[in-house]
Symmetry: C2
Subunit: 139 residues, 2 copies
């Protein structure tokens, strides 16, 4: 922690075009700009938050209740990221008590639709999946 014998935390080994806007739009390339977004959107809580918001606008606490198991911190953090990436719109109503409403943007809605499709596939095949899990052993 206190000593750094090496050359320091290089995020830039060799050469990298980290500052370029939308280099190639290929997720398979390690520094494609869409990778971080993909991760945010497909993250543990990102998926669920987007899927939930597909049902309509939600306020913070209600969303937290809907996405069972998420902590305040994670919901807050997830929503910030999704807002930053243009998936979610955040609307504050100056009232007492304060209200904040979250809605999907157009882009967010498209993404959420895909994610919902994914979820539905998994849910409707959950039996097969569980069977596969139990059957799994390396021969």
């Amino acid at each position: 922690m206190s000593t750094q014998p090496d050359s320091g935390p290089d995020q830039d080994p060799g050469l990298a075009f980290t500052n370029d806007p939308a280099l190639e739009a290929d997720v398979f390339a390690r520094n494609c700009s869409s990778r971080p977004v993909l991760q945010a959107v497909a993250s543990r809580w990102g998926v669920l938050a987007l899927a939930a918001l597909r049902e309509g606008p939600y306020r913070f606490s209600a969303l937290r209740r809907r996405v069972d198991g998420i902590s305040e911190r994670m919901l807050s953090q997830t929503l910030q990221t999704l807002e930053r990436d243009g998936m979610v719109h955040r609307e504050v109503q100056q009232s007492i008590p304060p209200q904040v409403e979250y809605t999907l943007t157009d882009l967010g809605a498209k993404v959420a639709d895909q994610l919902m499709g994914l979820i539905e596939i998994l849910e409707s095949n959950i039996d097969a999946i569980l069977t596969a899990q139990n059957t799994y052993h390396r021969d």
Copy 2:
């Protein structure tokens, strides 16, 4: 709002809340069986591995080259999970040198299609997303 664990079209009374044979297929419930699967499939490397395998069978090293930036360890681990969950089929050919080929199962193909749809949405909107990111500041 009702979080109703009961009522509704019944399926199998008696096999209710045991340790987790596909209880309710609702991802929003914190211990739904599909959540871990969703996470595996939507994980950082899971998405990319599945998307890559959509292009056809891959051998370990080739897949590693395709999914740029993944380490041996992570690829190995990811593939094991995907195989366990019935998304990927692993075929060993006893030869010298040994060859192992990975292919998508039917289920894996469906999942991969959804993920590919997601990726395409993100890639084609990457400019808007990057703009959103730069425009983002807290007021």
